[in-house]
Amino acid sequence: MSAAEDEKLNPELQEEHQNQEEGDVEPEMEYGDEIGMGYVFYRDRKEWADVDAVPQDDGPNPIVKIAYSDKFMDVFDYFRAVLQRDERSERAFQLTADAIELNAANYTVWHYRRVLVQSLQKDLHEEMKYITAIIEDQPKNYQVWHHRRMIVEWLKDPSQELEFIADILSQDAKNYHAWQHRQWVIQHYNSHSKRSVAQQNRYNLLQPTIGQAPVEFRQTHAGLCPPETGSSLTSALEILQDHCLSTYPNLLEQILELQQTHSSPYLIAFLVDMYEDMLENACSNQEETLNNALELCDLLAKEKDSIRKEYWKYIGGCLKNKYGTTEESKSPSEEQ
């Protein structure tokens, strides 16, 4: 389904591509591929003569009416027929493949295909081959991944999964469905592992263990990662938060030093967090710490991270309200 889907398939982009591809050499044709090149409509197939197609009932004044191609209408007219009579047959099974090819997002077809796979006791390894090919072709579709998950569950065999997912990720390292499937596989079939799934994924890819000195932290982050990326500093923050920011007293000095040469909004925000942590833990120089924090919030709002000015104004205001003295903690004037 569409909402919240990562980079959803844009139908109008398809339209543009279709226009561009006219005149290109046709790929090798298979039986049933193109009209005039051997494709036979279901309505013309002898082996389907016993079935009355069921046209879509949009009503007399349809809304959002799609101008389906002949091929699309024909396939789905027969799919509706098969669904209506709950036909459990090999021909119905093959029909689902045609329907899926025309619209892989039709979850009703996928559901019916699964009913048929079980009813007809289809070879699940063959089904795995099928779904592998479909996902390679359309890796950003919910239904294909869910279908694969069901087959893996029925087979009770995840042995192909990590390699398959790795292949998909090699084509698009950020495919959300792929990562979701990966976490499911690991969680479901790796219960003897003590690490959490996310940790497994992360530690496969990332870096130093926590116990190491702040010196190493600074070296790692100043040397390897450009100061402009949010993710490495944020994940460093998470790791440190897990182990309590304030147990590294020299860290503040190190970061302040780093600020001289490698300033970035991420670094300054990190400093604000450190000051807040110190205030929270009732450090000795509350007033100075608060002022430092407020100064940085102001710097971020006005200059270094102005896209987030409203946020930094709010954070500064919160700090003032929470840690300011009675004089300072009057409600902040609303500067526009």
């Binding site: 109008e12 799609i66 101008a67 619209n103 559901h111 450009p226």
Partner: protein, 418 residues
């Protein structure tokens, strides 16, 4: 209270200082980001040269023509959305209501009749007539019917069956699957909470365990993933937060880290939002991400946040409007992801929804507008939980609260948190 904006942030002398600094570390991510910044910069520069005397303009007329036609007819390119037709109704109707364009009563009636054909005999709505019901088209259909807001529209919904349908999808751990034999993710909780609260069918056990499950979706980044353990993502974060607001459990989330995460998703150069860290700006996140700020504002206010602004959301409203108006409009009508992409009704809906959020601050008592460009760019306000106009929410709630909650007559119903 109104604030017309004529000096554009993106045309500022120092705006190029916001460009990404690769620092000689090239990655796939940085290369893609730079490409987008380049194309966005081209748009900003072209605007500077060609239009600097005329303010950014929402192409209302073109969008209206595109939407009006789409409501009736779509090309075969839309075959891929044949299992999402209620969505098409909702995206188009909501876009029209934001543009303050009325729908003729005959068309409205036809929408009602069509959606009635999408309703399943077992409850809920399907992606098209004869298909199986699914929470996403159910959400879209109910929203579309509430936008229409006539008796005919409200009467389409079989509330008893809808409740049965929701129960049939409920899982022991508090989550919901999207359809029978389907997948779980946080969208389902939002879809269920949205339709149940609008139509007044919430019973005590229906959402038992759901808030706890949703909180498990929040991760170290501060945002929410689709299911527990996954990367924080704008779409899923919106769904989770909005569901929590409906269930009046938003305080179970770490609002502070959520606020930090979402504000960090606004792109300093482009002005629009990315969906996840290290990914690209996309016009649709103008709603999914920016829409979180009104929800957070209210939640933090309830918590007693005295530092909250009384005039602005905690994102750069002007920068977002500039991105949408300059980079996300197709001159022939319709809106889009980013320059170079094709228009579609999904992006039209969510770019306009985001534009509305960016223009209107406030609620019942306070209202402060920030309008970039022409006055005529002003859209109708949208409800940040349901993403239909607030008056349509109020009207629907009022209508359905006159009815008893199905299945358990006489029991008290939960008034939704508007």
């Amino acid at each position: 209270m109104e604030e017309p904006i004529s000096v554009l942030r993106c045309l500022g002398e120092y705006h190029s200082a916001e460009l990404f600094n690769e620092d000689n570390v090239k990655t796939v991510t940085s290369i893609e980001q730079k490409k987008v910044e380049d194309s966005v910069q081209d748009v900003f520069n072209a605007y500077k040269i060609n239009h600097r005397l005329s303010p950014p303009s929402l192409q209302r007329e073109q969008h209206y023509i595109y939407l009006k036609r789409g409501l009736r007819h779509l090309s075969d390119a839309y075959e891929c959305l044949d299992a999402s037709r209620p969505w098409l109704c909702y995206w188009i109707l909501h876009s029209l209501e934001l543009l303050d364009e009325s729908v003729p009563s005959s068309v409205a009636s036809d929408v009602c009749k069509f959606l009635a054909r999408c309703q399943s005999p077992s409850g809920g709505f399907a992606g098209g007539p004869g298909q199986h019901p699914h929470l996403a088209p159910t959400y879209a259909a109910v929203n579309a019917l509430c936008i229409i807001g006539t008796e005919e529209a409200y009467n389409v919904i079989d509330r008893q069956k809808l409740l049965d349908f929701l129960y049939s999808l409920k899982q022991p751990d508090g989550s919901f699957i999207m359809h029978v034999g389907g997948e779980v993710d946080v969208r389902s909780a939002y879809c269920a909470a949205s339709v149940a609260s609008l139509t007044n069918i919430i019973t005590a056990p229906l959402f038992e365990g759901t808030p706890s499950w949703i909180t498990r979706c929040q991760n170290w980044e501060g945002g929410l993933g689709g299911v527990p353990g996954l990367e924080a993502h704008g779409g899923y974060t919106f769904c989770g937060m909005a569901a929590m607001v409906i269930l009046q459990k938003e305080h179970m989330l770490d609002l502070k880290s959520l606020l930090r995460w979402v504000t960090s998703k606004q792109m300093r150069f482009e002005g629009g939002f990315q969906g996840r860290c290290n990914k690209l700006v996309d016009g649709c996140y103008s709603f999914w991400q920016a829409g979180l700020l009104p929800l957070l504002h209210r939640a933090l206010h309830t918590q007693g946040g005295s530092s909250l602004s009384m005039t602005n959301w905690m994102f750069h409203q002007q920068a977002l409007q500039e991105y949408i108006l300059l980079c996300c409009q197709n001159p022939s009508g319709g809106l889009l992801d980013k320059p170079g992409k094709s228009r579609d009704f999904y992006h039209t809906c969510y770019c306009l929804s985001g534009l509305s959020i960016a223009q209107h601050f406030g609620s019942r008592e306070i209202h402060h507008e920030v309008i970039v460009g022409k006055e005529e760019n002003r859209l109708a306000p949208t409800h940040p939980v349901y993403n239909i106009c607030p008056d349509k929410v109020a009207q629907a709630v009022q209508h359905f609260h006159q009815m008893a909650v199905p299945g358990k007559s006489g029991s008290s119903s939960q008034t939704p948190n508007l």
